[in-house]
Subunit: 211 residues, 2 copies
């Protein structure tokens, strides 16, 4: 309990700092390989020029994701957790120290690939966004409820694979809506680019503080 309290106090200070610099921060959470980095690659390509984007990359090991994002020419900082399966506020604060917040409009925090505990830790973000890939199965909201309850938006990724899975959209939506009545669901494919327009549009609203 004390860990969460100290974390939450620091998260509140981070949130104030981001607000002072008028930076909208999105904490992106999913299981490993659901497509967090792929979504960021597509999103940054679509937003480039419209707004100034930065990324904090949370991982247990390697700098591979930061390297992928770095190729797109936006500021990115790799945060290595040293083994922990989720990001906490102190590491995010350290990462912010390496970015020029006055030169950013939108900050993505890619969390460690884990569908469970990252949803418990406030990082000072404006909103949590979850990603579920259709290959994981439609039962995940019921089985891992916290994330789906907490998100302000949910991206359903890899819809290009729907024909080869037994993913049941209705069962998924029924379970998700029991946990979260408001969050929009964006059905996308980061491989084909399908459906990304509505997600980009939502981000623009998020930037205007209009969630």
């Amino acid at each position: 309990r004390n860990v969460l309290e100290a974390n939450d106090q620091l998260a509140a200070r981070i949130r104030e700092r981001l607000a002072r610099h008028r930076v909208t921060a999105i904490n992106v959470i999913s299981a490993p390989g659901a497509g967090k980095t792929s979504l960021l690659e597509r999103t940054i390509a679509a937003l480039n020029g419209h707004c100034r984007v930065g990324v904090l990359e949370g991982d247990i090991a390697t700098t591979r994701d930061a390297e992928r994002i770095g190729k797109l020419g936006v500021p990115v900082v790799q945060l290595l957790t040293g083994g922990a399966c989720h990001l906490e506020a102190p590491l995010v604060e350290r990462g912010l120290g390496e970015l020029n917040l006055d030169a950013l409009d939108l900050l993505f925090i890619e969390n460690v690939g884990n569908i469970a505990c990252p949803a418990e830790f406030d990082l000072g973000e404006t909103a949590k966004v979850g990603i579920l890939s259709v290959t994981e199965g439609h039962d995940k909201p019921g089985k891992y409820p916290l994330l789906f309850h907490e998100v302000r938006a949910l991206v359903l990724n890899k819809i290009d694979l729907l024909p080869y899975t037994d993913f049941d959209r209705d069962a998924f939506l029924r379970d998700f809506r029991k946990l979260n009545a408001r969050a929009p669901v964006f059905e996308v494919s980061c491989r084909t680019g399908e459906g990304l327009g509505a997600w980009i549009h939502w981000l623009e609203h998020a930037r205007e503080g209009d969630l």
Copy 2:
């Protein structure tokens, strides 16, 4: 640190107990939706009659996985972690209390869907087995190294989806072999049944204490 010590002492007692009853226990670990329950469904159907199988199902919420396994007519106990993203030895010990170990040859422990911390907790198992689905990406061994280092066997699942992904088998194997020189890799599809024979054969060796 103390948590792990207490856990390890109990795990050692569980291991002795399972050995006394000549039960081989496999701790099955993967990311959410990689196919743990699907692999168990296929495995139980293939083994039925050859050996007596039981299952402990670890989850954060719902009894859905235990219900799927229960339909196959084998003893199954649902373990609910109350929010924790991994199983620990005390919950496993409680689950064992609900099984007749003298009527079992092979016990599967399906861990909570998480590619990180479940690999840190000894449950008294004979061996940890990991599952990676090709849709998660070939970079997972490098990015989430502990599990891949610890496993005695690795199942690469959903190979029916290979044609629709950018999964690079060579890159995956190179990274995996840096972490684990010995563990066999079974390339399977729980959807089509392809490749399951070699996995079943390995289990029969595991039962004879011949890993």
